[in-house]
């Protein structure tokens, strides 16, 4: 180490912002991906491990696996899946679905998951957020929220958006943060599946009220929707499923266009 390089380093200000994260989400049932996927290079489109490997190679910044298995065998299947993914890929990933007690989270984190995502379980038992944060640290706890706009207000919905509650989304997000959520994954049910763009108005409003990272979800249809999201809000990450799975948007193209729009990304 020479003196001149030290002086140089101490004078550097990178002026960087943290890179905006692009996160493909995979639905998994009985250890297999559910939604159709049409990558050309895939040998087995239903194999979550191979998909994860493909996405990490394409430059995805993180992955979310949502387990929608309903059977008792779920935990065992997911642990095997998490281990395989952790062995294969070199980026972080989050596991959600069916995490109802500390033991569920513990085994997933010890199998190589970087974060766990909880949704309905913590709406029914908010103290579970505190327990998770205390047991593992808040950086491991993602609180996922499905929200729908009804008569001028935003309400939390459960079970993939099928069950309405009388809990206002803004209130619930503040409570989740106060209890120890390390990150919020907010899905707009009004935009999800429409491919008409993210719910930028709501996301901006929510983002301005919290001091933990916010992942936007629901509505991605085109590359421009991601540009709009990051131009119009200061959210930290964008999550999408079908536009990536069906190859409608390729992650390298998406990131190049974000970069051309002066949005900080990892290339």
């Amino acid at each position: 180490m020479n003196t001149s390089s030290k002086i140089k380093l101490s004078n550097i200000l990178t002026g960087n912002e943290l890179a905006k994260r692009i996160i493909p989400c995979l639905d998994v049932k009985d250890g297999r991906t559910v939604k159709g996927v049409n990558f050309v290079a895939l040998r087995d489109a239903g194999d979550p491990v191979e998909l994860a490997y493909q996405y990490s190679g394409q430059g995805a910044d993180e992955l979310v696996f949502l387990d929608i298995t309903a059977t008792h065998e779920r935990r065992k299947t997911m642990v095997e899946l998490v281990r395989s993914v952790a062995r294969q890929i070199n980026i972080p990933f989050t596991i959600g679905g069916g995490i109802n007690e500390i033991a569920d989270a513990d085994i997933l984190l010890n199998s190589g998951a970087d974060k766990i995502s909880v949704n309905s379980a913590v709406v029914k038992n908010p103290g579970f957020i505190d327990e998770l944060a205390l047991a593992f640290g808040k950086q491991f706890v993602v609180v996922a929220i499905d929200t729908k706009h009804i008569n001028g207000k935003n309400y939390v919905h459960l079970n993939g958006g099928r069950i309405a509650t009388d809990i206002e989304t803004e209130h619930w997000i503040k409570e989740a943060e106060d209890r120890g959520a390390g990150e919020i994954l907010l899905t707009s049910m009004d935009h999800d599946g429409t491919k008409a763009g993210f719910d930028n108005g709501l996301l901006r409003k929510i983002n301005d009220t919290i001091s933990i990272p916010l992942i936007a979800s629901g509505g991605a249809g085109t590359v421009q929707h991601f540009v709009d999201l990051f131009k119009m809000t200061n959210v930290d990450a964008a999550l999408a499923a079908s536009v990536f799975h069906y190859g409608e948007i390729l992650i390298p193209d998406l990131k190049n266009i974000l970069d051309q729009n002066n949005i900080e990304v990892r290339l």
């Binding site: 180490m1 020479n2 390089s5 030290k6 002086i7 140089k8 380093l9 101490s10 550097i12 200000l13 990178t14 002026g15 960087n16 943290l18 890179a19 994260r21 990490s56 910044d61 281990r83 952790a86 062995r87 294969q88 070199n90 980026i91 972080p92 984190l109 010890n110 199998s111 190589g112 970087d114 593992f136 640290g137 808040k138 950086q139 390390g182 990150e183 919290i210 001091s211 933990i212 990272p213 930290d236 990450a237 990892r266």
Partner: protein, 197 residues
């Protein structure tokens, strides 16, 4: 061969998986006698710095670690353990590198934890960054950071404030990010560590 200091602070599955992918052999250090089996060491760590330090003390390995002359790499909280003190739980640490670990405070106006991919700028000619382009992104997840210090900071990152992404004193290195989760750049860094002279 790499010896991983095994003291019970967080899971190391992702780290060993990365070493397996890279074909780098390793073993676990559970007692002071294990150190001589290896020619370099990794101190992993996640969670609370104060609790991690307590676990390290309970393991009885601190005195051996302080005396090591071969390359040592602390990762995340394992890096913070190399410093003198952490604001997390007002904890005294090993003081191998005389620096302070501080909280990203509210006045910095940044979201905490610092979660995601941030650019790392390294000193010219740092062997640990051999073949890694200047300004590569690495994956960070932490609420506490090690202050920038021109004597010991060999790579920096910025998040509301300039801080130590990598520190070094003699044979002791620490990285705040997770090389095992940092894509190709992270894998290259682990390979470089495995080949440090």
């Amino acid at each position: 061969m790499i010896g991983i200091v095994y003291y019970g602070a967080g899971n190391i599955f992702s780290l060993t998986a990365a070493l397996d992918r890279l074909g780098l052999s390793y073993g676990m250090i559970k007692t002071a006698a294990d150190f001589e089996k290896y020619d370099r060491y990794i101190i992993p760590g996640v969670g609370h710095a104060g609790s991690a330090m307590q676990k390290l003390k309970d393991s009885g390995l601190v005195l051996s670690i302080v005396k090591l002359k071969k390359p040592v790499l602390g990762i995340c909280v394992g890096m913070q353990l190399l410093t003198k003190h952490s604001e997390e739980g007002d904890s005294l640490l090993t003081d191998i590198i005389p620096l302070k670990t501080k909280l990203f405070s509210e006045i910095l106006k940044v979201k905490v934890p610092h979660t995601g991919w941030n650019k790392v700028i390294q000193n010219n000619g740092t062997a640990l960054f051999s073949k890694i382009p200047l300004g590569s992104h690495f994956y960070f997840v932490h609420s506490y950071f090690i202050e920038f210090n021109s004597n010991f900071t060999i790579a920096l990152a910025e998040y509301g404030i300039k801080f130590s992404a990598v520190i070094q004193k003699d044979n002791f290195y620490g990285v705040q990010f997770h090389p095992e989760k940092s894509g190709l750049a992270g894998e290259q860094l682990l390979k470089n560590f495995a080949h440090l002279a």
